[in-house]
Subunit: 200 residues, 2 copies
């Protein structure tokens, strides 16, 4: 079966979003600079293109935090953008939402359950825990993440949502497995020790 990876972009000073997140500014004020590698870099930079493609290419299911879902759903269009089963970590029970080939299943019994359901849905493919920051922290703390895919955008945001803020079990030694870069981001992959013993 596939692996579980967490993937997100952060600023050089470690923020996954700028301050004052709102529907108008889903990455916070000034946060759009984080995703320039996605919106500008992928136009003509093969490194950014490869990194963007890898987000989907081997991914069979996604795990998303509730806030990310709420901020994104109106932007993701009629097909829901992902084209795969998505599991939304939330406290509010809700019926599955279908948008074209994308399904959003709301999971109220915690990150282990969300990742477990995503792994079952993904089959042989990988599961992407795509944030926000709090969801990724929960997944790391639960020992569920085998690979960290970080994109570091060339900006100091100074304030906002810290990607790594509530880590347990630190220090956690990582293994650098891949580095690539464009002028819009440094793309890093690290292998992590998974402690979860999930068996399908």
């Amino acid at each position: 079966m596939g692996k579980v990876f967490a993937e997100i972009t952060m600023s050089v000073d470690g923020f996954a979003a700028g301050p004052r997140i709102s529907p108008q500014h889903p990455l916070g004020e000034d946060g759009n600079q984080l995703h320039e590698w996605l919106f500008k870099g992928t136009k003509d930079n093969p490194i950014d293109q490869q990194n963007a493609a890898a987000f989907f290419s081997s991914t069979g299911a996604f795990v998303i935090g509730r806030r990310t879902f709420d901020l994104g759903i109106n932007e993701w269009g009629e097909d829901g953008a992902f084209g795969k089963p998505c599991f939304v970590l939330t406290h509010r029970q809700q019926e599955m939402l279908v948008r074209g080939s994308t399904t959003f299943t709301f999971v109220t019994d915690g990150i282990e359950s969300a990742v477990r359901q995503a792994r079952l849905a993904a089959g042989e493919q990988d599961v992407c825990v795509m944030g926000g920051a709090n969801t990724i922290q929960q997944a790391i703390n639960a020992g569920l993440v085998a690979e960290l895919r970080l994109h570091i955008a060339p900006v100091l945001l100074g304030a906002g949502t810290r990607l790594f803020d509530q880590l347990k079990g630190a220090p956690i030694t990582l293994e650098s497995t891949q580095v690539s870069n464009s002028s819009f981001a440094v793309h890093l992959r690290y292998r992590m020790q998974m402690t979860d013993s999930f068996q399908p």
Copy 2:
């Protein structure tokens, strides 16, 4: 004349030192993993060797925080390790300390003064603001830093001294100028907009 660069190693989660810094643990507990690129990598990895050499090769003077000085001075040996003029940012007036070819001048009137004195001492060479984190933050906030040289060690420390914690004037857009990596660190250089108008 040369430029002012700030250079330091941080963890993937942005800590320049682990928790509980002490003379026995100058980088905090678990902090030694930060400098493996210096102590292990430079033994046989040319990328780590190049990055370590660059710390000294064009540098004519150093700016050091008081705490870093206090923690380091007994480790730096009879020649003071730097072989160049060092300016120590402190609140306590003290006479210049000479260790072989290294001089430590104690500067009590702020980061601008420390960097200005260092630039004069460095002549055509560069000035390295080498930390700790607070000293680098002060230099960035004063618009004194033209280049940021970051080494990212493959570890999540979870706690300690955050490298970027008190930045003003953010967001600060950076320009990525160099990326290299070994298994012990990702080495990044960013150009920053200097706002200081120092003239010798």
